[in-house]
Assembly symmetry: C2
Homo-oligomer: 837 residues x 2
Amino acid sequence: MITLTPDPLDRERFPIDEWALSETSYDADSAGLTETLFAIGNGYLGMRGGPEEGYGWHANGTYINGFHDTWAIRHAEEAYAFARVGQTIVNVPDSKLIKLYVDDEPLIVGEAECVHYERILDFRNGTLQRDIEWRTPSGKHVSITSRRMVSFTDRHLAILEYEVTMLDQDASVLLSSQILNRQDWVDEYAASADAQPVDDPRKAAAFSERVLQPRFKRADGSRFILGYRASNSGMTIACGVDHRLTTDNDWTESSQIEDDLAKQVYAVHAEAGKSIKLVKVISYHTTNSVPTRELADRCERTLDRIESRPLEDAFTAQRDWLDAFWARSDVEVPGHAAQQQAIRWNLFQLAQATARTDGGGIAAKGVTGSGYGGHYFWDTEIYVLPFLTYTSPDVARNALRFRHGMLPAARERAAELNQRGALFPWRTINGLEAGAYYAAGTAQYHIDADVSHALSQYVSATGDEDFLIRDGAIDILVETARMWADLGFWREDGTRSFHVHGVTGPDEYTTVVNDNLFTNVMARANLRAAVRRTRGLMQRDPDAFRAMASRLHLHEDEIVEWSEAAESMYIGYDEDLGIHPQDSQFLEKELWDLENTPPSKYPLLLHFHPLVIYRFQVIKQADVVLALLLQGDEFGGDVKRRDFEYYDALTTGDSTLSASTQSIVAAEVGYRDLALQYFNSALFVDLSDLHHNASDGVHVASAGGVWNALVFGFGGMRDYLGTFTIDPRLPEEWESLTFRVTLLGARLRVRTESSSVTLTIEEGASAKVSVCGREVEVFAGRPIRVPLLVDDSPTFEGAPSTSDIEGALRPDGSVITATMPMITERYDETDTPPLAE
Amino acid sequence: MITLTPDPLDRERFPIDEWALSETSYDADSAGLTETLFAIGNGYLGMRGGPEEGYGWHANGTYINGFHDTWAIRHAEEAYAFARVGQTIVNVPDSKLIKLYVDDEPLIVGEAECVHYERILDFRNGTLQRDIEWRTPSGKHVSITSRRMVSFTDRHLAILEYEVTMLDQDASVLLSSQILNRQDWVDEYAASADAQPVDDPRKAAAFSERVLQPRFKRADGSRFILGYRASNSGMTIACGVDHRLTTDNDWTESSQIEDDLAKQVYAVHAEAGKSIKLVKVISYHTTNSVPTRELADRCERTLDRIESRPLEDAFTAQRDWLDAFWARSDVEVPGHAAQQQAIRWNLFQLAQATARTDGGGIAAKGVTGSGYGGHYFWDTEIYVLPFLTYTSPDVARNALRFRHGMLPAARERAAELNQRGALFPWRTINGLEAGAYYAAGTAQYHIDADVSHALSQYVSATGDEDFLIRDGAIDILVETARMWADLGFWREDGTRSFHVHGVTGPDEYTTVVNDNLFTNVMARANLRAAVRRTRGLMQRDPDAFRAMASRLHLHEDEIVEWSEAAESMYIGYDEDLGIHPQDSQFLEKELWDLENTPPSKYPLLLHFHPLVIYRFQVIKQADVVLALLLQGDEFGGDVKRRDFEYYDALTTGDSTLSASTQSIVAAEVGYRDLALQYFNSALFVDLSDLHHNASDGVHVASAGGVWNALVFGFGGMRDYLGTFTIDPRLPEEWESLTFRVTLLGARLRVRTESSSVTLTIEEGASAKVSVCGREVEVFAGRPIRVPLLVDDSPTFEGAPSTSDIEGALRPDGSVITATMPMITERYDETDTPPLAE
C-alpha cells in the first residue's frame, strides 16, 4: 500500500478549494498529469486539459466515448479463439486549438513569462477557466482569459471562450482558431513508450497508420465542418465549429480548409485596454456508419441552436445540471477541506465519465484519455455502478442497457469458448473480446457474475422490474447462469460439490486457477439471482415467464440445475488458518517477500515476468476481500476479519481498484486507521498521481471506489437483496460524514456523526433502512436521528448496544422519543425489534 | 491415437523398396508433402524436393541450418521479460532452378503429359533422382533425367545433373539455369494460411518485408556468385554456381546477373537421340557477419575444388559416407519391407538433419522446411540425441557443444526470470528465447533438465569425460542445478519437501502447474548429476575442481543444497488410484470426453481455446509416461503399468513427440499390440502425413523417436547411469530385429529373435551389457547368443526364467555352452549371477 502524507498535494500550486481544482502555476513536466486533472467531459465528449494554444501538451486528446477503430491483433504465437479484433479509442480531430500571436510571438504556456497564471476546474459551474497575464518578449503585458465547457445538457456541444486584452501597449494580435486532425497517433505514444523502456500494458495500443479517412469538408463564413470515417471500424464523425469575435478593435479575418485542418484567423490591431473576445462553439456527432454528410447537418443544427440563443444560457444550463447532480450525489466531510476537495473532484469525474454516455459504455478512463484503449471493463459494474444506482439510477440503467445490448456477441463468445449461455468480454468497445492476454482477460469469467451482480443491485435499489422483464434484462441473468452451470462441473469427493476450474479472479497476479473464491461466491449469487428472478416471474406472471422461456429456450429443469449448482458450489475453507483460500492452490504457494521488495520494483507487473509473480502468494488487488464486500452477508464477522488480515498482508495494491475495497473491508472488520489510509490512497490516486500513469486519463473505477469507500466503508451502508443497512465506521478524525442515496425512488440523506446517524428524506416519500441492526422507516419532513454507541477500544467494533431513535414513527403513527435496547449483532435479524414490525 | 492400416501408403504410387523412397507419378495436390519426403540435405544445407523446373511447388525452400533473420515480437499485450526477439529461418536463394523449354513450351511437372515418371530418394547413394519421359504438346517425346545431391562430405556443396534427350524428333531446347532470390516469403505462407482459417502455431512466422539485402554479385563465364546480408540479424550468405554443358548438339549460351537473379541460358538445337547434359555445381557459405565478398571467395574455392576432380568422385564419397552411416546406424526388420523402408527413410532423415550441423543446432524440421521457424527445441536432447549418442557420438558431441555455447545467453535469461544459474530457451536459433507464448514456452523449465539428461547420457555412453571437464560442459550441470535449487522452495507439511511451482511439463495441454511429475523427477536427476559430477571431480582431480569452482563461483555448500533438494524432491503419489499425478491438481480436473470428440476436432489446439483444454484431464503428449522412460529406474513395474494405463487413456497424441514414447512404455509394461500401433504412428507420421503438416518439413524428433522405439522399445535397451541393459519386447509379427549401438567406443550389434538375443561386436574390442538381468561381456569375434523365454500370455512380460548363454566367456576364459537359471526380476541386481563377477 502507498503511504501518504496527510495532504499529498503541493498547496502552493494547488490551493485548497472545496468546489474547484485550481492551479496557480504551470509545470510543463507534469503536463500529462494536469491534462487529465483538468480534463472536461460529459461522458460522451471529452477534452483533455491542455492549453488552447496547443503547445507543450503531453497527449492533447479529444475523445468521444466508443469512437474507435479496429485492428487485427497479431499474436506472436496464435491459438484458437484468441481475441482477434483490437479496438482502440481514437483521438478525434482537435477543436480546442486557438493559437495566439502577439506581435507575431506565439504564446507558449510553459515557456512564456506569466506574471499571473491560474487555471480552475469548477465543479459547480462545470467549466475550465484560465486566467493568464503574459509579459511578451518585448515587454508588453497581455491578459488572456479563457473558459471551456463540455455541456452536460447537450452532449454534442462544447464551448470555448477566449479573451485577449493588451494591458499597457497596443499590439498586433493574431488568433488562429483550428480544427486539427492529428495524424500523430503513433508518435504521441511512441514518445511516451521511449521514455519508458519497459512496455506498459496499461497504455493504449498505438495505431500504425492513418485512422481517420477524410470524407467531408464544408466552410461557410466562420463555420467549418470536417467529416471522417475510421478506416476499419467504419465509424463516422463530423466536427463543426462556429466563431464569433467581439471587439472594439479593428480586425480582419481569413479562413482555410483542408482535409485535416480548418482554420479561422483573426488579425486584430489591438489597442491597450480594448478586449478581443472569441467565442468558439463546437459540435461533434458520431455514428457507427451514417455518412459524414448527414453528420455534418447534425453539427449544423447543434451550432444553429446555440447561435439562436444567448450564449450564457448554455452556461446556466450547465450550472443547473450540476446543482441537481450535487444535490443527489454530494458527499460532505466538513472540516476536512483537502479531502472534501478531492472527494468532489472524484465525484465530478464520475459525472464527467457517465452523465451522457446515453447508449454507450463507461470506459476505464471515461473520456479523459486513451489509457486501456478506451475499453470497457468490469470497472463499470463493480466500481462505478453502485454510485450510479444509488445516486443517478437513470444513468445506471443506461449502462446496464448498453451491457444488455452486448448479449448477442457474448453468446457468440461463449460458444467460441465451448460454453453455453453468454460470456461477456473482459475488455471491449464494440462487444467483441479485445483482451489479447487471456490469462488476465478471457479467463476472468467472473465478468458474467459482476454484470449480474450490478443488474441485481440496480433492480433491488430501484424496484425497476420493468427493465428486467419488459426490456428483457433478465436474459442476462439466464444466459450468465447457463454459462456457470456449464463451465463448472460436479465432483464426488465425500460430498457432491460444484467446482469451477481454469479461471482467473480479480487478482491478476494469480491466474488460471481452480475454485477461485471470488468467482465461486459471485457465480453462486449469479445462479441464485437467475433462479429467484425466473421462479419469481413464473409465479407472478406465468405469461411473461412463458414468453421469456420461449425466447431463451429455457426449460424448468435448467432452473433446478442452477439451483443445485448454486447450493452445492464449492467454497474452500482452510481449517488451520481459519480463512478462505483464494483458490485451491493459493495457500500452497511460496510467500512473496514484500518487505524486502524495494519501492522501485512496484508495480510488480512492470518488473517481473508473469511466471515469477504467479508462483507466489502475492496479490495485485482485492480478490477474496472483494468477495467479503460484495457478498458480505455470506461471511461471518470473524472469518471476514481473518480473511482480511491474511490477504491484506499480501496485497500490493498495484491496481488502483484495490485501495477502495481494502478500505471498506478494513473499516468493517475494525481497522479504522488502515481504512482511512486506504481511502486516501484511492482519493488521491490521480490528484497525486500515485500510480504514475494519471497522464493516461482519470482512474474512473477508483473514483467510483472513493464513493464506495465513503458510503459502504465509513458510511457502512449495505444492500443485500434490497435490504438496506447502515452500520457506520466514521474515522476518528472526522466530525461527520453526509451522503445521499436514492432508494426505491426516495432520496435519503444520511448524516453520520460520532454519536449518531441522522436520516432525512430529501426527495420522495419514505425509505426503510436498518441502522446498526434496527429497522427504521424515514418519512419526508421527519428526519430521524439514531444514536450510536462509540467503542473506544483499539479494535473498533462500531455496533451500539443501546440507542435512542428520535423522530421515528411507531406502526400506530406516534413518534418515538424514548430510548430502547438495540441489537448488538450486526446483520442478525432473528430478534426482530418491535419497530420493524 | 491414430489407428493405421497395416501399410498406410499407396503402393501403386510409392512402391516398396527397402533402400529408397520412390514415386511413380506426380501429384500436384500433395506437392507440399512430397517436397518434404524427397528433400535432401546434410544438416547444414537442405533443399526441398520440388521439381527443378520450379513450377507447381508448395514451398520451394532451400534452407541453411541457423541462417535466420530476427524481428521484434510484438505482443498484443506486453509484459515484463516476454520474449522479444523473433527468429525465423530464411528461405535462401534458390539454386535448384533449371527451367526447360522444348520448342518454347515449358516443362511443368504436374501439368505436362508424362509417359513415364519416376522419382527416387536413394538412402544408400544419398541422391534424389528423377526420370521423366515427356510428350510435348506437339507430340514430341523427350527424356529428362536428373540427379541431385547435397554432400555429406562437403557440407557447402550441392550438385545437380540435368540431362535432356529428344527421343524421336529434333527440337529447339532451351535450358535456363538460375539462382533466384525469392522475395515472396510472405506470399508463400500467406497462401497456406489462407487455406487454413485457423492460424496454426506450428508454422513459421512470415516476414513482412525484404529479408535479404543484396550485397554482392559476380559473374565469370558460366559461374555466378550472389551475396546477401539478412536485414536484422546481419548474417551473411553467398551462393555460387558453376555450369558445364556436355552435348553433341549445336548450342549457344547467354547469361545475365541481377541483384536477385543470376541466369545461365543454353539454347540447343537438339537432334533426336543426342543427349544434352548440364551439370550445375552449387556452393553456399554463411556466417554471422563476415562480408559477402569473403564468402564469395569461399564459394569459389568449393567450386574450384569440385571442378578439379572427376565429378563422379563426389558421388562416390557420398556413397562411402552413407555406407559407414548405415554400418553404425541401420536397424533391420527382415520380412517387413514396408516397415523396413519407412525405418530407413526415418534414419536417413536423421542423417540429413544432423550429419553436418557441425557447430549448429538440430532444428525441429532439420533443413527440410520452415516449420516452427527453424527453431531448436528439447527435441534435440530428448528425441534425437539418443540416436546420435549411441550411433554417431561425434555428432552428439557437436550438438551438446552447441548447447554449451548457449550458456551465457541462458544465464541472462535466468536472471531476467529472477532465477540463479541458467535457463535455456524453450525455442531459439540464436540462443535467445523466441517462444512468444510463455505458458507453453518459457514455463517449460524442464528444458534445463532435458539438456542435462542428454549430457549425462552422452558422457555415460561414451566415457567422454574430457568433454565434461576440459571443455567445461560440466558448467551446464552446475548452472542448471542452480536454477532448480533456486526455482523450487521448501515446504514443511509434516515432512520437509522441495517443490517446484509454476512450470509447464511436456504436455502442452496442461500449463503452469505445481509439482509437475516429469519436471520434478527430471530436476531431481539434474541435481543428482550435478552433485555426482562435481563431487566426483573434487575427489578425482581437486585442481580441476578448484578451477571449475572458481570459474563458476561455486561453493561446496551449494552442492549440499542440491543434494538436499534432490533427495527431498516432492514426488506426488495418489494412493487411491495408485498412480503419480501429473501435477498437484491434475487429478482434480474434469475428464475430457475423448470418446465423443470427433476426429475433425483434432488436434485439439486448433479447435479449442487453451483455457478450455487446460481445464480438463487431457494430454497432448507423453508427460508422466516420458518420465517413466527417461527415469525408469526410479519407478517400480506395477506403478509404471498403472501410470501408463491411466495416462494413455487421456493422451490425444496431438504432438508427434508422443507416439514413440507411448510405444516404448507400452512395450515395457506389456501392451505389445499397442506398442506396435504407436510405433507405426511414429513411423509413418510424415510418410503418410498423419498430422497433416508434413508439408512444413520432416518431424525430426519423431524420426528420432522411431529409432528410440526400435532400440528402447522393442529392443528393450536401457542405459541408467552407464549400466546398459537389454530386455527385448519383440512384436509378435516380427521374426527378428537387429540394431547397432556404440557403447564406450565399441559397436555392438544386437539381434533379437523371438527366442534369443545375439550380441556381436562389429567394431572395437568388447562391451558389457545386461540381458534380461544377466550381465554379459561380449568380445570382438565372439558373438554371444542369449536365449529368451517367450511368454504367450496376453500380458507380455518378456522376462525369461532360464537361459542358455552361448558363446560367453567365463572369467577363466572358457566358453559357456551350458544352460543356467536367469533372474526373472528385471533391473534387480541384488542376486548377481556368477557370470558377472
